[in-house]
Amino acid sequence: MVAGLAAENAIVVPDQNLKNAGIEVIGGEVVRVDASGRKVTLADGQALAYDKLFLATGASPLVPPIEGKELEGVLTLRGLPDACRIRDYFSEKKPEKIVFIGAGFITLEVASLMAMTAKEKMDITIVELLDRPLPLMLDMDMAALVKAHLEEKGIKVMTGEKVEKIVGKAGIVSAVALASGQELPADMVFMNIGTRPNVDLAKEIGLEMGRFGIKVNAYQETSDPHILAGGDCVEKFHLITGKPVPGQLRGPAVIQGRLAAKRLAGYAIPFPGVLNAGGCQFFERVATSTGLTEEEAAKEGFETVSATVDSRSKHGMIPGVQPWRIKLVFDKRSQKLIGGQIVAHAVASAKAIDTVNALIWGGKTISDLTTHMCACNPDISSEPSLEPISIAAELALQKLRS
């Protein structure tokens, strides 16, 4: 939508879908919840009684308290209104020098779409505090492929750089000043450094809070027996470490919303925890990951063994064959799979991360994976002898022996 490739109404769920299902939709802001009287009050004074309440208040972009963040031309992206603002600013102001702060997946998607759809050549720079793009998804060796592709496409990627302040002239952004002393000219700045849960209402109710949001049990129930919560506003726990994590991705949000509905209908299906599986497409590459990176695993106290394999999207004889690389991370002690990363030329190859996801979820080990068999066809997969998950497991097996 930001790049003008999709219309506003194409990326939203029409109210009519909900109304057709017999759901009442009210546009308005809940400003107060009387938990003991089980009643919500809207900004217009309207009050509604409830038997059960589900909080799905989402998250907002995290904007650090740096000088210049309020200047015209400094933008963030979370919801549709943000996307509209970016699209409008882009078409009206026609920025030529754009600085992205943070090298997460939203930055990579937006930067590449802007570069691909711009009529004039743009000067795009990505500034990242950590030492690589997609630092929460990829280890350095895999992120190097991402950086190389961005640079090949003319995007300047500056890692290990801290933004000191955003500079402006007459209230409009003009540059980004780095702690290293360098100043990057900019007529548009896009900030993407994370999100914070929207928990004001929950705090006001007095619900128990975790470090990363509203505290819920495995059934999405809060500390109030009549209130459930789910999605970006709640704290989750990691499937592998069991530790609290933010996990503000759409996949877990949808599942938690459905789990809450099932709980209210009498089912008792627990939320299993998150692996933070995600991905993004930028120019002609797709990066996906799930579970722990090698670096994260080390921080969590795991001794790891990893293996990286290059494969191809189709049999070598088929026209249009494209390469992809997968990295699997195993816990050396239990030999269980704990993470996976893919950088691919094709979307279909990158979707193999869902297989990795399921294998982690199933607690599969290196030995198990050596017998992993895929659906093979010359047009849709590599040759069976090049199936990369089983090959990666064999490499890990050899590393263990040595």
Binding site: V13, E24, V25, G27, K52, V254
Partner: protein, 44 residues
């Protein structure tokens, strides 16, 4: 939840819409109301 009880869902994050739709499907006799301050439910 029982017939005639009221479920209110606050918010339009990825959790709110799916919760409303499935709740109504599983419990058609429960009143489901969604309250959101944003203009749309976003799909992404």
């Amino acid at each position: 939840m029982q017939k005639g009880e009221k479920l209110i869902i606050v918010g339009c994050s990825g959790a709110g819409g799916p919760c409303a739709m499935l709740a109504k499907k599983l419990m058609p006799e429960v009143d489901v109301t969604v309250i959101r301050k944003e203009q749309y439910f976003i799909v992404r």
